[in-house]
Amino acid sequence: MVEANQSGCLFVGEGVVLKGNFAVPDIASVSGVVEGDLSAKQVIVESTGLIRGKVTAESVDIRGEVAEHLTASRSLIIRSSGKVGGSVHYAEIEIEKGGTLHGDLHLI
């Protein structure tokens, strides 16, 4: 969990719906819904989180859901409750047992 007052961070609480494109210099933690493109250094999708759009980050940690497109230039972790759909580009991947991946996988 990310503290809400850290500089350079985006925190989307549960129940919040964000629409648009977001560039986050540091950590983006999503417990709500993001509709649109999100780029950050690190993206954390909590179990209630959903991102509908293009996600670009160095490292991505998914307990919730990411639909459409995902690029993780360093590491990608899909936890047991995580769901990923669409095309995925990654450098290093880990999927915990129970995690769902439905789409194309590409190695960078």
């Binding site: 290093e92 991947i93 880990e94 915990e96 047992k97 995690g99 991946l101 194309d104 190695l107």
Partner: protein, 147 residues
């Protein structure tokens, strides 16, 4: 070697025992087992695995109702209940199985229920699975479909 003295001795000589392999396993595939498996006789699954050893290359179709350990090379279609592809193993072709553990390389489609991909594994092909676990470092390319 063939009449394994297991605990289920009443099944020992009966033809309908599912895991007796003379009925199911293609003969050329079976090679003698290294000590690693004999030593761990208290494993959960009493079935003897069929083994493609390192340096062994097989071209064709393999069908088994049991466990298949691949350390060598298979070019063709593989169907088995459980498949282990060791770090030196390579499968070029289709793979159908309930359980698949990949430590080596698979070039081709995988169709399975439970898929486990090790940290040094390489998979290139379309994968259809029910449950998947990929350990960090596994290199996977292709299309993933959850059944």
């Amino acid at each position: 070697m063939f009449s394994k003295k297991s605990n289920e001795s009443e099944e020992n000589s009966s033809e309908n025992s599912q895991n007796q392999y003379p009925e199911f396993t293609p003969e050329p595939v079976v090679e003698s087992e290294p000590a690693a498996y004999e030593g761990s006789s208290n494993r959960i699954n009493p079935t003897k695995p069929s083994i493609i050893s390192e340096g062994f290359e097989f071209v064709g179709t393999i069908t088994s109702d049991g466990v298949l350990n691949i350390s060598g090379v298979i070019k063709g279609k593989v169907t088995a209940k459980s498949v282990l592809i060791d770090s030196t193993g390579l499968v070029e072709g289709e793979l159908f199985s309930d359980q698949v553990m990949v430590k080596g390389k698979v070039l081709g489609d995988i169709n399975c229920d439970e898929l486990n991909i090790g940290p040094l594994a390489e998979v290139d092909g379309s994968v259809s699975y029910d449950s998947v676990h990929i350990q960090r470092g596994g290199k996977i390319k292709g299309h993933f479909i959850k059944k």
